[in-house]
């Protein structure tokens, strides 16, 4: 392995480092731009699993780390909101095996509903955060993350952004760890049972850990100093650091790798050696505000550069304090639902019935665009059901009766089940209609499996959740399954259900047109596998 040179995306580099560093379990929920980490980890021979959502993924990962195994948990930025509950208290616990939580942020929203800056989470949860600039650092920081995590028994957040995740750059890997730690249970109640009696000292321990990590970060942290002209000093993080190096090659630059807790004295010393200090960071003014709070006089970027991704041209403008309007790039062709997509007929039906459509996150969000124009809200994973119910409760009856919630199969498992519980528990006077658009895959992120497909991340067979049986057992009054292609049947059914004052769930089912050939292939392979196993069992009998 040593001396080998590879061209890898940041996601693939994290997966390779996880394998080399002896990770025993990778969990996560698909989300652009993080999805490929677990897929690659699986292809390289690692044990990777899709969880129903990020909260469960982190909980499984935490259990694995308590049990002494190196563990990686992956998600996109908004996924960390879902996993925030375990994250904040996991910070109080003492881990045994190293735990890395990957947060893949999407500044510019290439494929997301917001561009939240998850650097805020490091400070809020008091967890160390590493921010690589390219695939080599993504690889190195994954190794380093496990070392920090195990030395201080603390989860580490590895924050990537879209361009770090998906850009391919050169990586030189190091030799794989030969003997990763063996899992085994050791009881340590005060370190893992967060009742107030144990959590109070645990909070003090956490602050002590951070103080020690700060001291380490000041002297040994993974920061890069580029000597240059003392007239301009740049402090930068993540992908913005390489844009800055290109925009101002003559400048002195300090690229900070472990960005929480910050090496403030190191930055102060750098600041004292330059005439003008500018912070180049993508997203919110997190770094510049920290420096100013520490009394380091730093220039930030004008507010207009908070929005969207940075690039070399924008960094040049920031350095020139240029706030003139930016050239608007020409608009490309927007994406659309595929020809033959099973969602098309559903949205045509809802449009023609003049429904008020509470939508959700997935390919089917494209139902908002012409020619369908059949979506009225979309906020976060699973929100379609709650938002639909809220509107039904307060709208005048004529309007309330037109409200439907539309959710995809993977999204339903992710966070729609509790919405269904709400519908059964607090039904609006006009009832409600929920449509699960079941195309048999997590289509938007590239056709990943989920608990409703009956197949694991590697497509081998496993248990399968039946949405219709689940809804019936929860007490939904009307449960129907229709073929998404049978538009007339669907139309009549929806008209009928909208007229009732009852709770209804309709599963419209037809595989994703892109995934269908693969699904047939997996099912055939799995059936053959089962047949072979049955034959073998017969022989033994």
């Amino acid at each position: 392995m040593t001396g080998e040179r590879l061209l890898l995306s940041g996601d693939d580099a994290v997966a390779l480092a996880a394998l080399h560093a002896g990770v025993r379990l990778g969990t996560g929920y698909p989300g652009t731009p993080s999805t490929e980490i677990l897929e690659t980890f699986d292809q390289l021979g690692g044990h990777a699993q899709w969880s129903p959502n990020e909260k469960v993924a982190l909980e499984v990962g935490l259990g694995s780390a308590f049990a002494g195994a190196r563990t990686i948990v992956t998600m996109k930025h908004v996924g960390l909101n879902v996993a925030a509950d375990p994250l904040f208290t996991a910070a109080y616990t003492d881990l045994v095996g190293g735990l890395i939580v990957v947060s893949a942020d999407d500044p510019g929203m290439a494929s997301s509903q917001n561009e939240q800056d998850n650097r805020h989470y490091a400070r809020a949860a008091a967890l160390p955060m590493l921010e690589p600039t390219d695939s080599q650092q993504a690889y190195d920081f994954t190794w380093l993350g496990f070392e920090i995590s195990e030395r201080w028994k603390i989860p580490v957040i590895l924050r990537l952004t879209t361009r770090v995740c998906h850009a391919k750059t050169v990586v030189r890997p190091r030799p794989a760890l030969q003997t990763p730690p063996e899992p085994g249970f050791r009881r340590d109640v005060p370190a893992r049972v967060m009742i107030p009696a144990y959590a109070k000292p645990a909070h003090l321990r956490l602050r002590q850990k951070l103080a020690e990590i700060t001291a380490w970060n000041e002297t040994e942290g993974p920061h890069q100093l580029t000597a240059g002209d003392a007239r301009l000093g740049i402090v930068a993080t993540g992908i913005a650091a390489v844009h800055a190096r290109e925009a101002a090659p003559e400048a002195s630059q300090l690229t900070v790798g472990l960005t929480y807790p910050l090496p403030l004295e190191r930055i102060r010393a750098f600041a004292e050696g330059v005439e003008r200090l500018v912070v180049i960071e993508e997203g919110d003014p997190v770094l510049v505000e920290s420096l100013r709070a520490a009394g380091i006089p730093a220039e930030g970027k004008p507010e207009m550069y908070r929005f969207g991704e940075l690039n070399v041209a924008r960094v040049r403008r920031i350095l020139a304090s240029d706030t003139s309007p930016e050239a608007v790039p020409p608009k490309g062709k927007p994406p659309e639902l595929c020809q033959g997509c099973s969602h098309r007929g559903v949205f045509e039906t809802l449009r023609d019935l003049n429904c008020i459509v509470s939508g959700d996150i997935g390919c089917y969000t494209l139902g908002v665009l012409p020619p369908f124009s059949a979506m009225d809200t979309c906020v976060c994973m699973g929100a379609s059901i709650g938002v639909g119910l809220g509107m039904r409760h307060v709208l005048p009856e004529e309007q309330a009766r037109r409200v439907v919630s539309v959710i995809g199969d993977s999204t339903f498992v992710h966070s729609g089940i509790t919405g269904l519980a709400e519908m059964v528990y607090n039904p609006p006077p006009t009832g409600h209609v929920v449509l699960i658009l079941d195309n048999g895959t997590t289509a938007m992120t590239g056709q990943q499996e989920h608990p409703g497909t009956g197949r694991l991340l590697d497509h081998s067979p496993t248990g399968k959740i039946s949405f219709e049986a689940l809804a019936e057992s929860m007490g939904v009054q009307n449960v129907h399954v229709v073929d998404s292609q049978k538009i007339e049947t669907l139309r009549e059914l929806v008209i009928d259900l909208l007229a009732r004052n009852e709770t209804s769930l309709v599963v419209t089912r037809q595989p994703c047109v892109l995934a269908a050939p693969k699904i047939r292939f997996y099912e055939k392979a799995n059936a053959e596998q089962r047949a072979t196993e049955t034959c073998a069992a017969d022989v033994v009998d």
Binding site: H166, A167, K168, T169, E336, L366
Partner: protein
């Protein structure tokens, strides 16, 4: 050596990303520092796609700054104008019309034919192009794409 900037653009499903993977891999095999970047996700649903490939002795940002592309390759006529601002004033534009309409046995190999066309203006030896194609395409597609690559290269040479 100055960094070479190439942008490949088209619509989702045309093989833009495959072409940029092959180009980046060929430059990588030739020993250059390489960075390649594009946006995934929504772009896969038939929308506009473009991919940046940069190579040289040391590449910093993975994105080609606007107006700094040395070569712009476009697979779809409607996508030429929206991508033109990325091209340097004296940069080279290679559009789908660089290949005669009936020259290719399979229109899906247009992406590789256009790589053949740009190979005449890039300093990457042929052996690395071939190795990169083989590494990034299924074996049954090798012969067809080698042919497409040559058709593109010959067409570009005939024009210059």
């Amino acid at each position: 050596m100055k960094v070479k900037n190439i942008v490949i653009a088209g619509l989702g499903g045309q093989g833009v990303l495959k072409a940029s993977d092959i180009l980046a891999d060929a430059a990588f095999r030739a020993g250059f520092d390489v960075k390649k970047s594009e946006l995934h996700g929504m772009s896969q649903r038939g929308g506009s796609v473009s991919s940046d490939v940069r190579y040289g002795e040391c590449v910093l940002s993975p994105m080609v700054p606007p107006g700094e592309a040395d070569v712009l390759v476009v697979l779809e006529p409607t996508q030429v104008e929206i991508n033109r601002p990325t091209l340097r004033a004296d940069g080279i534009l290679i559009g789908p019309d660089a290949i005669a309409p009936d020259a290719l046995k399979n229109k899906k190999s247009l992406n590789v034919a256009l790589l053949g066309a740009i190979s005449t203006v890039l300093d990457i030896p042929d052996e690395h192009w071939m190795a990169a194609m083989h590494a990034n395409l299924a074996e049954k597609l090798h012969a067809l794409n080698e042919q497409a690559f040559e058709i593109g290269r010959d067409a570009a040479r005939a024009r210059s």
